[in-house]
């Protein structure tokens, strides 16, 4: 099933190239807003799946082109983002020491929204195309062997990043990663049953039509089950939480004023966001090879 939010955070299910409004199916779930309605739906999905499928089947739906998609998880309880989690197209002999950071839930934006670059003395802003996973049920100290049952679904995710801020030698992920609008995701939240092999998916990101990132999740350093096990050993994961699995830095490039960014994992829809910068700073266009070389250990 492909779940979406659209227009004024109506809940929809995709049926071919049409969106069927299923908001009424979930109205009885106690919630404060669209953000916790989604996570509380996920928590009780077994009870609602059948009703959603039925509504999707019987509903006419609206053509996709006629709706405005919104973020499928507008404000997750947590976003656990993996750092340095790819082998960089096999250039690294082994995975880097496992590490993660929390990205602000308020950073989430959706398809058609705008990434706003803050007026900070950054060295550069980068896109980081990633696969995002949504947690199905409460997970604490889970075994890697059981990890699969904790996966609700998947979506495109961009971990927009500001480089060069904050004190040297300290963890500065908050001011690198948590800016307003720095977590585009969606447009679809694809349930796990439609993604049989998440460890083998191509991820592509374009800026202004030029292909920048083009990698496969089989290049991941710490694989999905181990990552879920590790993250859940430190923090309890809740339904609707997001894990972003990190990025392959080969193909990273600058983001700047006026850019149009697109990311697509096959089956997940295409996420489009634009970029604005009041300071109108400019950086070289194309792939940032300096960064790529450094992360791959070639610099």
């Amino acid at each position: 099933m492909k779940l979406v939010h659209f227009n004024n955070y109506r809940l929809g299910v995709l049926k071919g190239d049409r969106v069927v409004d299923v908001t009424s199916v979930v109205q009885d779930i106690p919630h404060v807003g669209p953000h916790d309605r989604m996570s509380r739906l996920i928590e009780r999905f077994d009870q609602y799946r059948g009703k959603l499928e039925q509504a999707a089947q019987s509903g006419q739906g609206i053509p996709m082109e006629q709706v405005r998609f919104r973020a499928p998880v507008p404000k997750p309880g947590k976003i656990v983002a993996m750092a340095g989690n790819y082998l960089e197209n096999g250039t690294l002999k082994e995975a880097r020491p496992i590490n993660a950071f929390l990205k602000s839930p308020n950073a989430v934006i959706g398809d058609g929204d705008t990434v706003v670059l803050p007026p900070e003395p950054v060295t550069i802003f980068h896109h980081e195309a990633e696969v995002g996973m949504v947690v199905a049920k409460k997970a604490s100290r889970v075994n890697a062997a059981d990890a699969k049952s904790y996966i609700f679904g998947w979506m495109n995710f961009i971990d927009v990043s500001a480089r060069g801020l904050g004190p040297q030698g300290m963890d500065t992920f908050f001011q690198g990663k948590s800016w307003h609008s720095f977590a585009p995701c969606g447009p679809y939240l694809v349930t796990a049953d439609e993604v049989p092999d998440p460890q083998n998916m191509p991820i592509k990101l374009w800026v202004n039509g030029d292909l920048r990132q083009d990698y496969n999740t089989n290049d991941m350093g710490h694989k999905i089950p181990d990552t879920i096990a590790w993250a859940s050993s430190i923090v309890t994961l809740n339904p609707g939480d997001v894990i972003a699995f990190g990025t392959n830095h080969q193909g990273l490039g600058a983001l700047q004023d006026g850019d149009k960014v697109e990311i697509e994992i096959p089956g997940f829809g295409r996420l489009h966001v634009s970029v604005t910068d009041n300071m109108k700073r400019s950086w070289p266009r194309g792939v940032d090879h300096a960064m790529a070389d450094r992360v791959a250990g070639r610099a």
């Binding site: 020491p97 308020n106 923090v235």
Partner: protein, 297 residues
């Protein structure tokens, strides 16, 4: 006003050493969770609930505090933004260190009376970090320093329990373990703390005074902190800012320790420590970290 959650997350208001149940006053608030209830109260506190609570406190008999089980007054904040290296270390530092913060998992929250569980991972040491906690009263983005205090709902005692030496300098690995965020026992409204930039903070382990500092030693002021955080990300009602700690007086925590922390007017937060591995560290103040952070090492 001092608000608490007690027993099965009933909301209450303190009246001296008694708790008056506010359940009836707030039952119509949309509250899928206790935090949702609190956020609903915070959002309409001045316009609606403050007077109703005062009335309830006046009329109600209440039950003695000793007869209820206190929960965290902040059951699960949407965000915990924790300041890093934010003190001048009793004036040892000439100026504040470059401003920095990290997100601490909301799942760290632990109520008074609870147990901090040390994970089996090979940390060098585990430390207590007593801090002033600020609870946000209204949604704010790009807040200016002059209006910053308008965004404060109230204050809580908070301990930023920390694991050292895991994952390099990783804050996720150091700070976000479940139970690493003791909080409470009361959520005290802002009007009860005249000057948050001048409050004493004390923490004891097994009755020995460890941390003993004042928020006037803070590096980046509360106003600057709120301004900076909201330039990065939106703060919402119920979010928690942990203002950082003065490292002079930091020490190890280990299996069996009884930790107490108090800021005058915020009640006394008491938690114990459990370590299945029964690791041992030197007792008393860890002068190594105190010296290093103060630039004396």
């Amino acid at each position: 006003m001092k608000l608490v959650f007690f027993n099965d997350f009933k909301l209450g208001v303190l009246k001296d050493d008694r708790v008056v149940d506010l359940t009836n006053v707030v039952q119509h608030i949309n509250q899928p969770t206790p935090q949702d209830l609190l956020n609903g109260v915070i959002s309409e506190f001045r316009t609606r609930y403050r007077n109703q609570f005062l009335e309830a406190a006046e009329k109600g008999q209440g039950v003695p505090l000793s007869q209820v089980k206190l929960q965290s007054p902040l059951p699960r904040p949407g965000k915990i933004v924790a300041m890093a290296a934010n003190y001048l270390e009793n004036g040892a530092l000439k100026e504040a260190r470059p401003i920095n913060a990290f997100l601490k998992s909301p799942e760290t929250i632990l109520a008074t009376g609870g147990t901090v569980v040390l994970p089996p991972d090979q940390a060098n040491v585990f430390h207590h970090e007593a801090e002033l906690g600020i609870v946000i009263g209204k949604e704010g983005a790009y807040v200016g320093q002059s209006e910053a205090y308008n965004y404060i709902f109230g204050y809580v005692n908070f301990i930023d329990v920390s694991a050292r030496g895991l994952g390099g300098s990783s804050f996720f690995w150091g700070k976000s373990w479940d139970t690493f965020g003791p909080c409470g026992p009361y959520l005290v409204t802002a009007d009860e703390i005249a000057d948050p930039q001048n409050v004493p903070i004390q923490l004891w382990v097994n009755g020995d005074l460890r941390q003993n500092y004042n928020t006037n030693d803070m590096g980046h002021s509360i106003r600057r902190t709120i301004e900076w955080i909201t330039s990065v990300t939106t703060l919402e009602p119920g979010d928690l800012i942990a203002c950082g700690t003065n490292h002079q007086g930091l020490g190890a925590i280990q299996n069996g320790d009884q930790i107490e922390m108090e800021i005058p007017g915020l009640g006394r937060l008491k938690v114990q420590v459990k370590d299945d591995l029964k690791r041992e560290w030197p007792r008393g103040i860890d002068h190594v970290i105190g010296d290093r952070v103060a630039g004396r090492a």
